[in-house]
Structures are given as structure tokens and as C-alpha cells.
């Protein structure tokens, strides 16, 4: 939901912008790199779709 909120405001976030937005979200799996990549993917799909 945090990522969705970011993408509503920013369709092309940088790594740093994603990190800043997602910083409060803790992941105990250690999947941060994959989450970041997924947000980039979702952003690209949103850009194509809009």
C-alpha cells in the first residue's frame, strides 16, 4: 500500500525515492532489492498503461 501510494504521486521513482518512501516498511525476509525492483516494474507498467 505504501508502494501504491508512492506510485500514485510518482510514476517514475528513482531508487532513492523508493527507498525514502519504503523506509518505514520493514521486511524480515530481506527481500528489499526485489521489492525495489518490483516497484520499478509496476511503475513501468503504469506508465505504459496511462
Amino acid at each position: 500500500m505504501t508502494a501504491a501510494a508512492l506510485l500514485v504521486k510518482n510514476r517514475q521513482p528513482t531508487d532513492a525515492e523508493i527507498d525514502r518512501a519504503m523506509s518505514p516498511v520493514l521486511c524480515r525476509c530481506g527481500a528489499y532489492g526485489r521489492i525495489r525492483a518490483a516497484i520499478h516494474d509496476a511503475a513501468a507498467q503504469l506508465r505504459q498503461g496511462s
Binding site: 527507498d19 519504503m22 523506509s23 518505514p24 520493514l26 524480515r28 528489499y32 532489492g33 521489492i35
Partner: protein, 723 residues
């Protein structure tokens, strides 16, 4: 996909009435609704009548072939996010020659049929899942494949040997073919072959593939049910007031104020404390907050981290119990001696899904839903608490949000059964984050003294390594072998470097704090000790830390292989920009070999990790993406612990309670982790834990390379004087 049947949707499912003899190896295949059920046949009645082919329901078998061709793999292991459901399904499907698009997974019930062959009970731990099931699960698939071929051949009047199986079908060179769904009913009537041939690994097409996790779609949709999602009609929620001071006993309690909270139904003393049972979590929490409890606070009130550290360090100065003694460390002819003492704190598992368990007692038995890593050990214990025959206790292992070893304990499940019995209603016990973090079951705090004699060219001629810590096996009630807790010395005892004289000792220490398996177990601290110390020896010898290690690994080619790969992939020999340095560490653990290079900078005393390169030799590969995920996660887990992890005590009370004071890495701190898996034809090793042990020493060794400060005490952030 078929919903994971981890929770009965129908809460009226009766505990099995007939549990009879509980095991038998591949004695038969049962025909149910036209499907082929195969595996370790257990003569129990299904929990509900089978009336519908599409929902063939028969637990206690490893696979089921439906008349629609669906292959359901039934997995008796705990899925805590590590991806074992998919890994086991790949093993079965490979030998079955299944059509992967028709493969489903299902969580198994609690039954000895699903015991892990390595440790003899149904449980998930020690990175033994793939190692333990690698051959049995493939054999289960191969056996079913042979039976399906045997079902097809006679109808075509051909020799079974002339048929082959592929993609969920049996085919004959004449062009005839039949799907597994068409053949299932017939196959179920055939005798079970005992010597089904396993495939040559060169023919693998499912094992070794980066297939997607079968349980991901449900988890992404939020449809997957975890332990904490269990809901039963009339279910109450319970929080337990437990003592804040280690080892305290209940003296008295006053429930009057707690019972004034709307929704609070019961306040009952149980073995672990005082249970507050309410209509929901919040009422239970308010009720517990209002509860007045007096504890004796007698035995543990003196415990403090400073005192524990001093006691552990003191122990490293005295002889311990020898776990390894090669040669004679005292008579080795050394030109110089290097000695160092390292310390690590207690650590909490900090699972995302808090500990929880749901239980209900019925007139004819009990039913329990637990996110547990050890159902095979739980059931007898819980049945005793419930006061029912173990055969009449149905234990459902649910999906779980992290495990890390914490769910190998049964404090939370015992509480649930005890409370459900006391209040005669379905009860879900939940430990809040704080309850869990303050409630012990910690990775042991430890201190270690390592002393090496160096000979020609700074090569080690002797090593004395002595570690002091509490015993996990003792905490679990398991026997020690020759007075040694193997977990306490695991990762130190295996010192792999050519040294000649090696003595490894354990100094037992007990203070009443319960220590427990924590992802990567003994190696979590022992590899930090060993790999920091070999680094110190390299510098004492004036050698490059990588070259020094490599030259001493003549007896471990696989360890040398990952060390070289990590150095190569991290460009070890190429200089870094000013202000950055690399550190290296390697180990053998859990049947695998792993090496890491961390790239680090330090600013205002705070290390920042820019990249971790990891090389892994874990034998044959079942799913490379699953391995990468586990290694990446293990590295981040190790970084959280190395940088921040610290459970401290003051006056017998644990000082941390949540992620505000027990920090874990955040996204902006998490470095890229490059995982390189080496090709191997060896048996599979474990991968769930191996990412963690080398991380702390690789980072600390990089900090030394950069700053000249040797980090001998974790966590790093707690250190002063790191410039």
C-alpha cells in the same frame, strides 16, 4: 490454484477416530474417487467422506493424481517463506514426469509418515529439508510414474519397457498415449514397485529450474491463511501475562480490574503466567494491561548484560570441554602467538508473524492449528497438556510468517492448549511483539578466546579455540553427546585451515535464560569468531586475507572453490575508491560451502555496506531462484544482526521489545547481494541458513581493512571508537 489446505474451512471436521497403526512404507496405493494416492500408506480414515472426484481428499500420502490429471504434492514440512513447498513439488514432479502446470501443493497433516529422515520426526530445521527429502520424494514420484506406465501398457498390449512417461502422459512409440488422469484409477489398483528407477540428473527438466513459487499467487492476493488467520466459531483471543524478570514464578494476581474491561471473559492462571481471555485481541490486551500480578522475581533479578559478558569472558580463560583435539596445541613450535577474545549478544528471532496458536478441546479429542516448525514433537506434548490420547489430537501446521527456529519451540502452543482446556472454548493465543521479544528463546550470548601459534611465513601451527555459551540442546531437553553441545561448537570445531594442532573447547554457562536455535545456529556466532580470527592471522603474517586463507585450504577444495569465486566475482584484486574496503569470510555449514565479500565504507562511526558478493556451492540445485532468495535473505538477516542485533538485560529484565529498539535493516540500508551458485554434482546441501554466518565477519574484516579497528564485539553499532 487449489487453496492450501492448511486450515480446515470446516471447523466441524472431527478429529480422526481411527489412528490405528501409523506407518508402513509404500505398502499399497489406495484408490479414492478414481485417483491414485501414493506414498507412505497410513491406514487412517480420511477426515471427511470422499464423494467428489474433483476434491479427492486423502491425507498421509506424498502425492495424489486426480482423475482430471491434477497432481497434488503433499508436503510435511513447514513453509515459512523459504519456498520448500515448491522445492519438494519439483522433486516429486521431476521423477513423475508431471506436467508442471498441473502440479499443486498441499500442507500435510501431522503424522510420522512425514518425518524428516535425517532427524527422525516431522519437523523443519537445520536446513535439512531438501537434504532429508531429496531421495525419498524423488522415489515417491518415480514409483507413481512406473505404476502409471504399468497401467497403460497392458491396455495397448505392449511391453511397459517400451513405454515412456512425459509431461503428464504415458506414450508408446506406436503413437498411442494416455494422460495420467485417464490412467490414475487403474494405476491405483496395481502393486507398488519397490525399486522404481530414479532419473539420471542429466535428464532433469524440473529439478534445477527457476520455477515460480506455487504458493505465491495466494500470498500476493492475501488469500493464503497463516496461523494468525485461523478463525473458529466462538473463538476467544488470549494474551498471557508472563514474568518480566527471568525465571520468576507467579505469587498472586488480582483480576478484578481486568474483568471490568468490556469483552474480557476469563482470567486464569496457567503454567507460564496468567491468561486473559477475551472476545478479541484488543480487549485481551487491555485486560492484561489492567491485570495486577505479583511475581517472586527471585532468581534472575541480578542478571545484567555487563555481568553476563564478564562471566562468559571469564570462562574463556579456563579449560573447557574438548570437542576437537588434533595433535597437541601446547607443544607446537610457534615463533609468535596471536590471541583474541570475541563477544556476541543474545539475539531475538523477531518473526514478522507473532507467535500464535489456536486450540479447541472437544468431547472426543483436541484440534490445534499451529505455525510450528516441529509438529512431530509437539503432538505428544500438547496431547499430554490437553489430557487426551495423542491419536486424538489433530495438529494442523499452518503457513507461517517467518520461523528462524523460533517456532521450533512450543511455549505458545502449550499455552493455547492449556487455556482452551481451562475455558472450554476455542482459543487463539497471541504473543504480542513485545511478549515474544521479551520472552526469551534467544540465540545464545557467547564469548570466545582464540589463540594461534604462527610458524614459518606466518602459517598457523596451532589453534586453541574456546567458546563459552549456554546450551541450546539442554534448553530443549535433548541429550548432550560426551558432555558437548554440538550446536555450541558448530562452525568452530570445523576450523578448515591447515594448522596441524587444533583444540576446540566449549565452556558451558547457564543463567536461567532460555537459549534456542536461531537461523544458522552455532555458526551464527562461531563463524564470526573463526573468520575474524583467520583474518587477524593473515594480517599478523603480513599476507592478503584472501590469499592467506586460500593457501591454507588444501584439504577443502569446495571451500577453496567458493572462496576463489567470491574473490573473483568481487574483483578482490582491483582497488576500490578511497574510503571503501572489502572484507572476506568463508565457511562450510549445513552441508554447503559459502564465501562472501562485503564492500564497506564508514562515516561518522557508522558502517555502510555497499555490496555483498556471495559464492555458494550447495551441491545439486533444485531451484536456483529459491536458493538466491534464501542467500539474499540470509545476508540481510546477518547484516541486521551484525549492525544492530542486541537483546540486553538490566536487573533481570529484557530491555528491547519491538523494532524501535531491536532494529533491523531498512530498505535504504540494504545493499545489493550478488549470489553466484557454483555448478556441482554433489548431493544437495542446505541453503536456508548458509547466507547468514559469513556476513558479520566479512563486514568486520572490511571495517578493519578500512580503519585498522578490529571489531571483536557485536553488534557493530554498539561499538565505540570506530572512526
Amino acid at each position: 490454484m487449489t487453496p492450501l489446505r492448511n486450515c480446515a474451512k470446516d471447523p466441524d471436521v472431527k478429529p480422526r477416530a481411527d489412528n490405528g497403526p501409523r506407518r508402513g512404507f509404500l505398502k499399497t496405493a489406495g484408490a479414492l474417487g478414481g485417483g491414485l494416492v501414493l506414498g507412505f500408506f497410513v491406514p487412517v480414515k480420511p477426515a471427511r467422506a470422499v464423494t467428489d472426484v474433483a476434491t479427492v481428499f486423502q491425507p498421509n500420502a506424498f502425492l495424489r493424481v486426480g482423475s482430471d490429471g491434477t497432481v497434488t504434492v503433499i508436503v510435511g514440512l513447514a513453509e515459512m517463506g523459504q519456498g520448500i513447498l515448491t522445492g519438494i513439488a519439483q522433486l516429486v514432479a521431476e521423477e513423475l514426469e508431471a506436467d508442471w502446470s498441473k502440479v499443486r501443493v498441499e500442507l500435510a497433516p501431522t503424522d510420522p509418515a512425514y518425518k524428516n529422515p535425517v532427524f527422525g520426526f516431522q519437523g523443519t530445521g537445520g536446513s535439512f529439508s531438501t537434504r532429508g527429502h531429496w531421495e525419498p520424494m524423488r522415489r515417491a514420484g518415480a514409483t507413481a510414474r512406473e505404476m502409471l506406465i504399468s497401467a497403460a501398457a497392458p491396455t495397448w498390449k505392449v511391453d511397459p519397457a517400451s513405454c515412456r512417461a512425459e509431461q503428464g502422459r504415458v506414450v508408446h512409440p506406436s503413437g498411442r498415449q494416455a494422460s495420467y488422469g485417464e490412467l490414475a484409477a487403474k494405476a491405483a489398483t496395481l502393486p507398488v514397485p519397490v525399486d522404481a528407477r530414479l532419473k539420471d540428473p542429466k535428464d532433469f527438466r524440473i529439478i534445477g529450474k527457476a520455477l515460480k513459487q506455487l504458493d505465491s499467487p495466494e500470498k500476493i492476493r492475501g488469500a493464503a491463511k497463516f496461523g494468525i488467520d485461523v478463525r473458529l466459531p466462538g473463538m476467544l483471543v488470549c494474551l498471557v501475562a508472563r514474568p518480566a524478570v527471568v525465571g520468576s514464578k507467579l505469587v498472586s494476581f488480582d483480576a478484578a480490574k481486568a474483568k471490568q474491561i468490556p469483552g474480557v471473559r476469563h482470567v486464569v492462571p496457567i503454567n507460564s503466567g496468567v491468561a486473559v481471555v477475551a472476545d478479541g485481541f484488543w480487549a485481551a490486551k487491555l485486560g492484561r494491561d489492567a491485570l495486577q500480578v505479583t511475581w517472586d522475581e527471585a532468581t534472575g533479578a541480578h542478571l545484567s548484560s555487563a555481568g553476563i559478558r564478564a562471566a562468559l569472558v571469564d570462562l574463556t580463560a579456563k579449560p573447557g570441554i574438548a570437542a576437537r583435539n588434533d595433535g597437541d596445541v601446547d607443544s607446537a613450535n610457534a615463533k609468535s602467538v596471536v590471541e583474541a577474545i570475541y563477544e556476541v549478544p543474545y539475539l531475538a528471532h523477531a518473526c514478522m508473524e507473532p507467535m500464535n496458536c489456536t486450540a479447541v478441546l472437544k468431547s472426543d479429542g483436541a484440534e490445534v492449528w499451529a505455525p510450528t516448525e516441529s509438529p512431530g514433537l509437539d503432538r505428544d506434548v500438547l496431547a499430554k497438556v490437553a489430557g487426551v490420547d495423542p491419536a486424538r489430537l489433530t495438529l494442523h501446521t499452518t503457513l507461517m510468517g517467518c520461523g528462524f527456529g523460533r517456532r521450533f519451540a512450543r511455549d505458545f502452543s502449550i499455552d493455547a492448549v492449556e487455556v482452551a482446556k481451562a475455558v472450554a472454548a476455542p482459543v487463539q493465543v497471541i504473543y504480542s511483539r513485545e511478549d515474544d521479544m521479551k520472552g526469551q528463546y534467544y540465540r545464545p550470548a557467547a564469548a570466545a578466546m582464540l589463540r594461534a601459534g604462527l610458524g614459518d611465513a606466518g602459517r598457523p601451527v596451532s589453534l586453541l579455540a574456546r567458546t563459552a555459551c549456554s546450551s541450546i540442546l539442554r534448553a530443549a531437553g535433548w541429550p548432550l553427546k560426551n558432555g558437548i553441545d554440538g550446536v555450541a561448537v558448530d562452525g568452530l570445531k570445523e576450523w578448515p585451515y591447515d594448522t596441524g594442532n587444533v583444540r576446540v573447547e566449549w565452556a558451558p554457562y547457564e543463567n536461567g535464560i532460555v537459549v534456542w536455535w536461531w537461523r544458522s545456529e552455532g555458526p551464527s556466532q562461531n563463524v564470526y569468531f573463526a573468520e575474524s580470527f583467520i583474518d587477524e592471522l593473515a594480517y599478523a603474517a603480513g599476507r592478503d586475507p584472501f590469499e592467506y586463507r586460500r593457501a591454507l585450504l588444501t584439504h577443502s577444495p569446495r571451500l577453496r572453490g567458493v572462496l576463489e569465486a567470491a574473490a573473483d566475482k568481487s574483483d578482490w584484486r582491483k582497488p576500490l575508491p578511497t574510503g571503501r574496503a572489502r572484507g572476506i569470510a568463508a565457511c562450510e555449514c549445513f552441508g554447503s560451502f559459502v564465501a562472501q565479500v562485503a564492500e564497506v565504507s564508514v562515516s561518522a562511526g557508522r558502517p555502510r555496506i555497499h555490496r555483498v558478493v556471495c559464492a555458494v556451492d550447495c551441491g545439486q540445485i533444485v531451484n536456483p531462484e529459491a536458493i538466491k532468495r534464501q542467500i539474499e535473505g540470509g545476508v540481510i538477516f546477518g547484516l541486521s544482526a551484525a549492525l544492530y542485533g542486541n537483546i540486553s538485560l538490566k536487573d533481570g529484565r529484557v530491555e528491547q521489545g519491538n523494532f524501535d529498539d531491536y532494529r533491523v535493516l531498512r530498505m535504504e540500508e540494504a545493499p545489493p547481494v550478488d549470489v553466484h551458485i557454483l555448478a556441482s554434482s554433489d548431493k544437495p546441501g542446505g541453503v536456508g541458513e548458509i547466507g547468514t554466518p559469513p556476513t558479520a565477519p566479512a563486514v568486520c574484516n572490511a571495517i578493519f581493512a578500512l580503519t585498522g579497528k578490529r571489531v571483536r564485539k557485536l553488534p557493530i553499532a554498539a561499538l565505540e571508537g570506530t572512526a
